[in-house]
Amino acid sequence: MTAIRSATVPTRPIQLRRLPWGLFVAVLLVLLLAVAAIAPQLLATHDPYALDYPAALQGPSWAHWFGTDESGRDLYSRLVFGAGQSLLIGLGAAGVGIVLALILGSLAALAVKPAAVVVDRFVEVMFAFPALLLALLLIAIAGPSAVTEIFAVGLGTAPGYARMIRGQILAAKNSGYVEAATALGHSRARIVSAHILPNALRPLVAVFALSVGQSIVWSSSLSFLGLGVAPPAPEWGALLDAGRGYIIQANWLEVIPGLVIVAVALAATTIGRHLQAHLEKGEK
């Protein structure tokens, strides 16, 4: 390990220069987002709730960077203040999805035979429902709200991740080092906790980053349909929902929040992919 590290030292400057600009932009965007989420007043230029009817539906300008909505509220400031809630929903949904997937995936791979088969089938059944429809089913039962949205998106994305985790665990279970540990007479519990889980779950860091981006897109889709956070709130999907009625007069109300969501989702994907590549390289 140390030998490898010392060997790479001379090439460091080159690697730094080669730092992909995509990753750089992505990290910068995420940092900006974190600031917006923690202290929105630092970035905002206006009060996000201040009504100013004479200035309603103005296009982007120096006074209002991203234009104003139908009540004259500053879209840029609303996006900044909505970042916290959107990010929280994205993180929450990704967390719910991964935890659910972790439980189902490891049960399907590690439980005793009949239970594992049942869980495996259950995951298969849930996977037959597209994520958005599973989310809508939960919303139909629980009624639309921010909390429902988190659980709905988490539930929708969980089956796919559960399958992936199951595959990872099975791959680790059939590997040479587990065979060696079994031959050495280690207990099953020890093999699972010391060998299988750490190796199978390492990629989860990257998957979580990918999942946050996906969850932000899914949850804003639900808000866009009017089935998530309701419009007066500056949550990004809700902004899209509110702007739908003004698409002809004020298209920036749709284009800009959409662009922000796409940018954040792409940033999360970029970071997730780099983590994935890095983890895979580190493993070999």
Binding site: R121, A128, F129, P130, L133, V217, F224, I247, V262, T269
Partner: protein, 345 residues
């Protein structure tokens, strides 16, 4: 191709033509038996998944909080109040709520087999009638989108895969960005540019061919990006294969090699995604139909979710799951029939 025991290999190789014919016949029969067995196993597993989906759907309907008959009556009238026993009795009878849950479950499964998805809480009509009159529009949209996605994906991958570092990375970047585009945003951009700006298409999508193109593209572009990611990997691997080198040596043009040899191999993973693609476009229709004000099961679903009309919600969700499982089963069976590696050893 499969590993056979050495004695077997030795005994079949040098035999004269007659006995080899017999051996071939024998092998053909055992392959047929194996194929039927594999298909049967896949069929059973598909039925188990469908049964599971129906079970989830049934219990989802029970999950509405509160007394079910009261909930149904309140949803129907759009009110929230206590109901008298006299009001509730006909609802209980209509939905079979007097029976124990297991009997209701059995009745529900029996209904599904003959195509009865229950009765809408809100519209007094069978769910199949509510879905049936809107299904055609959505299936048309979905299939058109899949067709567009294939065309876009094939053109883009054939043009950019394995063409030098710059074009390649541009190609891959476009794949990732396209796959990540949210349908609502893409739809609005297409609407703004092509319907409001250039006026090539109607703003409010009618049911005509002209109104179909933008909604279908909205679903097709992310799908194409998604399929292109796996196709590109296979495509670039395919370009280095011996059969490609030999085709080039025979003097085939680069375009000819790409279209006739490499593409065939490269599209296999995308074909495997067919079931998923159908599910994705049918569920994506929820958003697209909402943007373009198109009729279809997506609009019905959003309205039903808003009204908590669970039989309709569950009916549509189950139907999409049935489509997904069926297409996957067909793809699986097709592979079983085509794949020569499936051989009795």
């Amino acid at each position: 191709m499969t590993l056979t025991s050495p004695s077997n290999a030795v005994s079949t190789e040098p035999t004269p033509a007659q006995t080899s014919d017999e051996g071939l016949e024998e092998r053909r029969r055992s392959r047929l038996r194996l194929i039927l067995l594999t298909i049967g196993r896949k069929l059973v597993s598909a039925i188990v998944v469908l049964w599971g989906a129906a079970t989830v759907a049934f219990f989802a309907q029970l999950a509405l909080p509160g007394d079910r008959a009261t909930v149904i009556l309140n949803i129907r009238d759009g009110q929230a109040q206590q109901r008298t026993a006299a009001e509730l009795a006909p609802i209980r009878a209509e939905y079979g709520l007097n029976h124990p849950v297991l009997v209701q479950y059995w009745d529900y499964l029996r209904g599904l087999v003959v195509g009865d998805f229950g009765t809408s809480y809100q519209q007094f009509r069978p769910v199949t009638a509510v879905i049936g009159e809107q299904l055609g529009a959505t299936v048309t949209l979905s299939l058109t989108a899949i067709l567009f996605a294939w065309v876009l994906m094939i053109v883009w991958v054939t043009l950019t895969a394995g063409r030098g570092p710059r074009v390649r990375s541009l190609g891959a970047l476009v794949d990732v960005v396209a796959a990540g585009l949210p349908a609502y945003w893409l739809g609005i951009i297409l609407l703004l540019v092509f319907a409001l700006g250039l006026r090539w298409f109607p703003v409010i999508g009618g049911t005509g061919v002209n109104g179909l193109i933008l909604p279908a593209l909205t679903l097709a572009i992310p799908l194409a990006g998604f399929m292109a990611q796996s196709t590109r990997v296979e495509f670039e691997r395919g370009l280095d294969q011996p059969f490609v080198v030999s085709a080039r040596m025979r003097g085939m043009s680069d375009t000819g090699v790409r279209l006739r040899h490499v593409l065939r191999h490269a599209t296999i993973p995308a074909v495997t995604l067919s079931g998923w693609a159908l599910g994705a476009t049918l569920s994506g229709a929820v958003i697209v139909e909402s943007i373009f004000s198109r009729p279809g099961i997506g609009s019905v679903l959003v309205a039903a979710v808003n009204a908590q009309d669970l039989p309709v919600v569950v009916g549509i969700v189950t139907l999409v799951a049935v489509f997904y499982v069926t297409v996957n089963l067909l793809v699986d069976i097709a592979y079983t029939l085509i794949d020569p590696r499936l051989k009795a050893s």
